[in-house]
Symmetry: none
């Protein structure tokens, strides 16, 4: 069964909005084992809409969103009427629905634009819209069934989940078996080299290696009916044995959620001193619900003054080695741990750019300090893109070193 | 001139990645007056790629991203060779580029996967890739020129901006006249009510009100040739007069960039004490290059202990009113200002959830404290979605109150 999506909306082609509806549909269909062959985004012009309907008609199921709204630039009803050669008629049922909807909102008087929503193509089967005025539309033509839905996400999502997915579900197979292996700190090409042979052997799996800055994900999907969940898990174990510590997690894990789990499991508290990451590490670690159990304190010390006064970094260290140095990173980590009385101290100092670099310490240089248990250490990385990407990369390397250190020391 | 985009990548149809490349291209083209007719997303299968190339060949310019990488699931080169009936040959030029790129990264030994990147279709004109190994490809067939770019955003963006946009630019007209008015803190429906009449009068403008959490943007585009840039600016002044402080900026402004400009202009320094936002405000304010000029210090004090020890919040305040209270927020702001010796102190304390709420102080409650010049104040907001959204909303409200306060006090 070929399923395709058409997203209608000039705003999707003007840079002001992105098409989130298709992602919702893709994920919903995935849960019942149906994959989507393509997504096409076109503007609100009638010819663009009818053109897309025609060019995508090799699909068995065509899911169309957008352009059903009340304003002058919603032209999907007109385009559908033209494409399916149907008259447009007034629907009493839809009108009653609109009136009921507005009564709930405390509006007695309907606008002309709202009344227009009751005009529907005669040949269409209607789908109720719980949250909005425009009904969904179903047409059949050739081998294709066309489902038209509103573009407003909350309206589309409920309509799709309640009225369309249950119909399609029966045509789906079991849920698509797949797993995501999440790695960080290792380039895509190196990962590929490591598992190339394994991929060769496992022809009944589809393996994709996908960069998701600052990570690389390996997506494994069953491409043969022989693969069962236990077999897929065995395959995951094989990849895990090959890649080892390159892997930080699986499926919906995030690096911060994995680090949080390690901290909680080992009953550890942490304090963070951030210079170049400016609060991003703390932000990531506190994105996890329950983070107050391990997150002791964070200090963002941008200036030398703040490093001296709030963190007790020695003036001599800053003078001799500079603020961006192994020595400063180490003192920051050791001192924040002492100040916060935590088990672990983690620090960053570097140059996020775009200015502030030197030939010796170019933009993108970062030193990470760690103090944990009876040991301490520093790490150095270099990376340069834009300021925000650099901050994200720095925070990622810091969290990853923390992960690796806890794994080695406590697990 | 018809311009279309094809985005290649099974990950874009599997729910694991969204197609951000097309948005980048759309925005870049918009700046030179070129609009995009459609976007088509297809998977990495050779037939899917060649099928899309064929079905979109009514375009004059076809911009294609993805599938040029080093791994086995990158099949665009093969598909292009097949579609354009070209042999695949080894390119010495590309090989030298790959070697140079890896030398910089300190890698002497190239993997087989990396060498494979030097295999290109013989009929293609090559485009250099500054950040990656895979070159871009240009083909001509019929009336269509095909530009193939890598899918990795940073590689694609530089390639497009430096090597493709300048060619297309000459075919563009004048830039599409449009402006974005950026607001925060006011619901979409309220904004609409305020400018409804103004929209009615200005039929030669296309006006869209688009929610972009945690903001609402008003996009104004000329829909008549009568509109010139000075006239559009006059129209912006009219909307600005109606909406006043609801507007924080225009076009590419961000709330943090606007706040940074205010701080710099008035020669003010700031220190931040964050509880529920966990470093996010500091992160946002330090995303601006040059932030060390105003960003004095940040403290993330999650626990009561940290609020007492590091910020000097009185135990009595915490006992009498709770950590999430106006009183605590106020002390946090006043104290961080004193500790950091800054001009402004800003604080947050609240419940990001999903746990930790009470009937009196439900999840989504936030108190914001501000100490600036000779005045101080607190602000209270309530909002609840998920933990991360709540943190984003809290940080947005804090930065917005800071903006409004500086506007009233210093401008």
């Amino acid at each position: 069964m070929i399923v395709k999506i058409i997203a209608i909306g000039s705003e999707l082609l003007s840079g002001s909005s992105t098409d989130t509806n298709s992602q919702f549909i893709i994920n919903a269909l995935k849960s019942v084992g149906i994959s989507v062959a393509s997504v096409k985004i076109v503007g609100d012009e009638i010819e663009a809409i009818t053109g897309a309907l025609a060019s995508e008609n090799d699909a068995d199921i065509l899911l169309i969103t957008g352009g059903l709204g009340p304003t002058h630039d919603d032209r999907t009803v007109k385009a559908a009427a033209q494409y399916f050669d149907s008259a447009i008629v007034f629907s009493e049922v839809v009108m009653q629905h609109i009136q009921a909807l507005f009564e709930v909102r405390g509006i007695a008087e309907l606008s002309e634009a709202n009344r227009r929503q009751a005009l529907v193509p005669e040949k269409a089967e209607l789908i109720p819209n719980y949250y909005g005025t425009a009904p969904g539309l179903i047409f059949k033509k050739g081998k294709t069934v066309y489902y038209f839905m509103p573009g407003v996400p909350v309206e589309m999502e409920r309509m799709f989940a309640e009225n369309i997915l249950p119909i399609l579900q029966t045509s789906g197979t079991e849920p698509i078996l797949s797993a995501v292996i999440r790695t960080t700190g290792v380039p895509e090409s190196v990962l590929f080299q490591k598992i190339e042979q394994w991929i060769e052997i496992n022809q009944d799996l589809a393996v994709s290696i996908l960069p998701h800055f600052p990570e690389v994900h390996i997506v494994i999907t069953k491409s043969s009916p022989n693969i069962t969940r236990p077999l897929l898990d065995k395959k995951l174990d094989e990849v895990t044995a090959i890649l080892g510590d390159d892997i930080y997690g699986y499926d919906a894990d995030t690096l911060e959620s994995v680090v949080a789990k390690q901290l909680l499991k080992n009953n550890l508290t942490i304090a963070i001193a951030e210079s170049c990451t400016g609060g991003l590490i703390a932000h990531r670690l506190t994105n996890i619900s329950g983070s107050s159990a391990y997150f002791q304190q964070g200090i963002i010390c941008y200036s030398n003054r703040s490093k001296i006064e709030n963190l007790g970094v020695r003036e001599k260290t800053l003078a001799d080695f500079g603020a961006v140095s192994r020595q400063t990173a180490q003192e920051m980590a050791v001192n924040i741990r002492r100040i916060a009385n935590s088990d672990i101290g983690l620090s960053t100092t570097g140059i996020a750019g775009p200015t502030g670099g030197s030939p010796e310490k170019p933009v993108g240089t970062v030193f990470i300090g760690l103090a944990s248990g009876d040991h301490k250490g520093t790490f150095h990385f270099r990376y340069n893109r834009d300021r925000l990407s650099n901050k994200i990369y720095f925070s990622q390397m810091a969290l990853n070193q923390l992960r690796l250190d806890m794994k080695a020391s406590y697990e």
